[in-house]
């Protein structure tokens, strides 16, 4: 995509307005920005995509995509110094020696935590679409209507039927594997074949259906399990079950902006992608009563320039989009663009991943699995669907999987031949579960701009004031109780439960990263 990079940053403001004018501007190149770019370019609009980070091109900029664990300087682990230098971002699941270049460095991008809040960011072309969890479950009308029915937040102005055709449109393009299950709380989509269960998962599925009438289904993830023509047109191929996704996939086996939407948009001839472009604010024209463009700070030269367009899409990631619009002040909008009611930055919500557990399952030791399956299994939400039945608002989905553990830490054979022999034998079956819980939006969970502190680009620092409440505590308690009961019913032993109380805006459990790490150690 080098040919479309704008290289005029040293000549800014000397080019005249015409050369800085496009039909549309998209701020951000992550999962939604990439889609905005593709759709706008497909419809013939000359589109400028502004990305604050460096360029990352598919294949070319995935330096670790084919490295084995022993080819990495520290076998994939991050060093103590890296942890000390990056106490926040090093907590992100999937952050390791092979993926750390797709996450920010703490010291380069400060923010102010009024309450502890882990803001996980990836500043590069493709954003967090390179390192996302790839989970693609549809919302049901139980989700869209819950705020109205239970009296929190405000009513969604859309319902499932408004979005369903667009879900289908996206699923067919990106490729989502999954099974058709006819579950009311998790509608079916346009699925490629699902990933297979292993034997302990099959066993668990049967038990929780028989005893709880709860579903255990193959996770619906953006992996191409059976390529269609549309995937070939994107230059993407079948997922090889390498389970090295977050390094960038040479096959394009999972969906990212880099492998899919951005090169697609580029092939239309309508895309201009400008990395190193920190958007300062949206320009509002008081006469025309509309936005006319954006102000951009070049991350390398620190110079400011302006770009103009008829349509502006802000896809800078949730909190940065808040930051940009709060910073877009004018005589008409002194408190941020469109912020007449003063609610911008308020009602921040997130997913609660505090609860997790694992268990050992005896027997089935004559069975194993063949591939490094890159997906998980899912228990769709079973709480507060048709009526409020719990002592908390909202619901949770459970992610889960079964694995053979290893004997590395249980061996008593010391070192030498006996130890090596032990290492070649898999240990008992295990299973994990972790929750992804709804948090209830409230005005007090908010972000705002610092009046006094700025970053190295002159942008006000974002203050995050976001925390858990009693509703979250109750939901975690319910998950831990229900999860243990289900494990026990299925014959699980040595059940270990955990409430991490960690705060983060997205991404899955650190515990799962740990579990995967254990599994990978055995596999490699």
């Amino acid at each position: 995509m080098n040919d479309v990079l704008v290289n005029d940053s040293k000549n800014i403001n000397t080019n005249g307005k015409a050369t800085h004018t496009y039909d549309a501007i998209v701020v951000g190149s992550g999962i939604s920005g990439g889609w905005a770019a593709k759709e706008l370019c497909d419809k013939g609009l000359k589109t400028l995509v502004l990305e604050r980070g460096r360029d990352v091109q598919h294949l070319k900029d995935y330096p670790t995509m084919n490295l084995r664990r022993w080819e990495l300087p520290h076998s994939g682990s991050i060093t103590l110094q890296q942890k000390v230098n990056n106490p926040l971002i090093s907590k992100a699941a999937g952050y390791d020696e092979a993926t750390q270049h797709f996450f920010v460095k703490d010291e380069e991008h400060p923010y102010i935590q009024e309450k502890p809040f882990d803001w996980i960011r990836g500043y590069q072309v493709g954003g967090k679409s390179l390192t996302w969890g790839r989970s693609c479950q549809r919302w049901s009308d139980w989700d869209f209507s819950a705020p109205l029915r239970y009296g929190y937040a405000v009513d969604w102005p859309v319902r499932y039927n408004d979005i369903a055709p667009w879900y289908s449109y996206v699923e067919q393009f990106i490729g989502v594997c999954g099974s058709r299950e006819n579950i009311e709380s998790m509608p079916d989509g346009e699925f490629l074949p699902p990933m297979e269960f292993n034997c302990v998962e099959e066993h668990f599925k049967k038990v929780i259906w028989d005893q709880y009438q709860r579903n255990y289904i193959p996770g619906r993830l953006a992996h191409i399990t059976e390529p269609k023509e549309i995937h070939g047109q994107q230059g993407r191929a079948q997922c090889q079950n390498r389970d090295l996704c977050m390094r960038g996939c040479p096959f394009g086996g999972y969906f990212s902006s880099n492998a899919s939407t951005l090169p697609w948009a580029n092939r239309t001839g309508n895309l201009t992608l400008r990395p190193h472009s920190v958007v300062h604010s949206v320009i509002y024209d008081e006469q025309k009563q509309k936005a006319t463009g954006v102000r951009v700070i070049d991350a390398l030269t620190k110079e400011t320039t302006e770009y103009f367009a008829d349509i502006i899409f802000i896809n800078a990631s949730a909190l940065n989009t808040n930051l940009i619009l709060l910073n877009s002040t004018s005589t008409r909008f002194p408190n941020g663009l469109g912020n007449d009611n003063g609610l911008m930055g308020k009602y921040i919500c997130f997913h609660n991943y505090r609860g997790s557990m694992n268990a050992t399952f005896e027997g089935m030791e004559d069975q194993y699995y063949k591939v490094r399956r890159a997906t998980e299994c899912v228990i769709p939400n079973f709480r507060n669907l048709k009526k409020l039945e719990a002592d908390f608002l909202g619901g949770y989905v459970i992610f889960s999987g079964g694995y053979r553990s290893n004997k590395i830490y249980s061996t008593a054979a010391g070192i030498g031949a006996a130890f090596k022999e032990e290492l070649s034998e898999p240990g008992a079956w295990g299973m994990y579960m972790y929750m992804q819980g709804e948090t209830i939006p409230k005005a007090s969970n908010h972000v705002r701009l610092s009046d006094t502190e700025k970053d190295r680009f002159g942008m006000p620092l974002l203050i995050t004031s976001v925390g858990y409440d009693e509703n979250d505590d109750k939901m975690v308690h319910d998950f831990l109780e229900q999860g243990q009961a289900m494990f026990k019913s299925a014959g699980g032993v040595n059940i270990q439960v955990n409430d991490s109380r960690s705060h983060r805006d997205w991404i899955f459990m650190r515990w799962v990263a740990y579990a995967w790490d254990m599994i990978l150690k055995l596999r490699c």
């Binding site: 549809r138 667009w166 919500c349 209830i440």
Partner: protein, 67 residues
């Protein structure tokens, strides 16, 4: 998620059902900031679906001279 939530009413929300700012019609927000509630499902594919839907609307409106 949230902070620039979708809703019916400009008094209590920032974006309309097309992810368009109530008070500045040619600016659209289709990332996690638009979320009225979090649901329990992973939201990324909803962002993608809302984005494609909003672009379709925006370009239609632009061609009609409404933006």
């Amino acid at each position: 998620m949230g902070g620039i939530r979708m809703g019916h009413d400009p008094q209590t929300s920032l974006l309309n059902k097309w992810n368009q700012l109530h008070h500045c019609k040619n600016v659209f927000v289709t990332d996690g900031a638009c979320m009225t509630s979090t649901g329990n499902q992973s939201p990324s594919i909803l962002y993608m679906a809302l984005t494609a839907r909003a672009v379709n609307y925006a370009v239609t409106q632009l061609k009609k001279g409404e933006l």
